[in-house]
Symmetry: C2
């Protein structure tokens, strides 16, 4: 095919899975700034669904079931499984992927796992950029799956548009504490394994937490360079109320209804202006992060090793705090600024 003579990145955008996989690897290695600038104008078309939940809730099966549903509608689907907990869990992730074996070989489905031992910030950025690559490659739906623990949910909330939090009956009260944290970011709650005993208790528990009324404003990102257009504050009646759905992912029960709720939420995001406001906030936060990195790289270039060693010794000897040293270095490096 004449396709082969095109630049790799164009091939990736036009459907070459091999070039797409290569691009993603490059993004993971943080060596793809030029490529990311090139694909950026092609992004913004996909529907981004984030799915999170504790281990044991069957969220991987739910992801597979949703993907199958979308394939049945002739839509293309990319699945990005992110596991920030440990390199050890590579095996578990692989095990989950095996359950999706029936989706393999279908060119309309693309599956990628990410596990990392590096910085969480780095993982979040790589995830956001990989989603852009998948978006530019034309997938109709991009499903981002993360284990629901610690900080990962904040990342998924800033990357995904519709966030699904998965629960299951009978996981025990100990999970409750962890669960509470991710409820705040849920656009749709799913009780999977709904054929198991304890369903009513779980649904009642979720309902009670939602009714607490303390559902916080979703945190898109922490801190912003400048205030952007505030998120629209819809009145109580028109604001989105997270529904509680019941599914049995292994049999497909409830998947059609879940997909309908996803569409409803996407419609809400667009009609209320929330999608645009979130995009502004999220880009502003990303700009801030890029600025920090670029500034730090500049300082790295301009400081001599001996000077650094001297500062380090002062800190180790508890003469000066890191904060104090930072202000000193900055004053010397950018004397023309206020």
């Amino acid at each position: 095919v004449s396709n082969v003579s095109l630049p790799p990145i164009v091939q990736a955008i036009r459907g070459s899975r091999r070039q797409l996989a290569r691009l993603i690897t490059k993004i993971e290695g943080e060596q793809a700034n030029a490529e990311l600038a090139e694909i950026y104008p092609h992004t913004g078309q996909a529907c981004l669904v984030g799915i999170t939940g504790a281990p044991g809730t069957g969220k991987s099966s739910l992801v597979s079931a949703l993907a199958r549903h979308y394939r049945g509608l002739a839509k293309t689907v990319a699945i990005l499984a992110v596991d920030p907990t440990s390199p050890f869990t590579g095996g578990a992730v692989l095990g989950d992927r095996i359950r999706m074996r029936d989706l393999a070989g279908d060119n309309g489905v693309f599956i990628r796992s990410m596990a990392t031992r590096g910085s969480l910030g780095g993982l979040a950025r790589a995830t956001a950029n990989i989603v852009r690559a998948l978006d530019a490659a034309g997938f109709d739906y991009i499903i981002i799956e993360t284990v629901g623990a610690g900080q990962s949910e904040v990342d998924i909330a800033s990357i995904g548009q519709t966030i699904i939090v998965v629960e299951a009956p009978g996981l025990g009260d100990d999970v409750q504490a962890i669960k509470a944290g991710i409820l705040e970011i849920a656009d749709i709650l799913v009780v999977n394994k709904a054929d198991r005993p304890g369903l009513e208790n779980t649904v009642r528990g979720l309902r009670a937490m939602l009714d607490l009324g303390h559902r916080a404003e979703r945190l898109i990102h922490h801190g912003q360079l400048m205030p952007v257009a505030a998120l629209p504050v819809p009145d109580e009646n028109s604001a989105w109320q997270p529904p509680i759905m019941q599914t049995v992912a292994t049999t497909g029960q409830g998947i059609t209804e879940l997909a309908a709720q996803i569409e409803a939420h996407q419609l809400y995001l667009r009609q209320s202006g929330t999608l645009q406001a979130r995009l502004q906030a999220s880009l502003s936060a990303e700009l801030e992060e890029c600025l920090r990195d670029a500034l730090l790289a500049q300082i790295r270039q301009n400081i001599r090793a001996e000077e650094f060693a001297e500062h380090l010794a002062q800190m180790v000897d508890r003469q000066q705090t890191p904060n104090h040293v930072a202000l000193q270095m900055l004053r010397r490096l950018t004397p023309n600024q206020t």
Copy 2:
């Protein structure tokens, strides 16, 4: 007492719990740079013990039991309970603290809980600085307790010296995935609730994971401004091997043995030079973070709102990536740098 005429910060260092609590509140509000500089020379004396583990392992009871043990030796103890998961868990933390009621009223014990909905980076910094305040206030032992989920363990690894990871029999295999991530940072493993069925399985599982030999280098911080003296790489025989201890915190069983292992690990840290190397790496990382913040504050001061709005519009319209805009802004603001 004439103490009252002293500056508040001196009172805090000399034993006033009221002034110490006020100082901590100020640190939490990130309004304590001057105070932190003042107390910094007084730090570096305390033994810093980090304790982490999943909900249900009884780690709060273990913290109480350890605190009682140290009090029996006439040592002073500060307990800092950090819960980064959610504001909702405030109740749970409070419940845990009630179990420590027998420690209340003892001036040799100081207990503080932190829960936050803000940035994880902010929480980590506040935790590190509060530990400094407790250190300067002269506590012999500072126990930092966090729920073992997500990224929190990385924070505790950079703040604590001896890290204890708590497990319990019968928590189910689903926890395994989360557990794996925190094993990497464990200096001592504790199987608490050792009187419960399933003890042998849990110990065997932990042993197997340790024997995997994949125990990664402890991540102190991600990224450093400059390379500092590399961590000493002790040969296989002299390196610290994390022991697996068995305790029943509620009855005190095994606590004396655990305390002995903590002392042994502290001795190892000092004799091997590891403590000093870690301090250098951690201060270097903190300096980098302070630099980022200070640089960003400077940019905030120097950019006009209209200019920012223009850049934001270009990003929203997908003409320019945040990374590209960041480099442009930087070029304009620091033209005299390379």
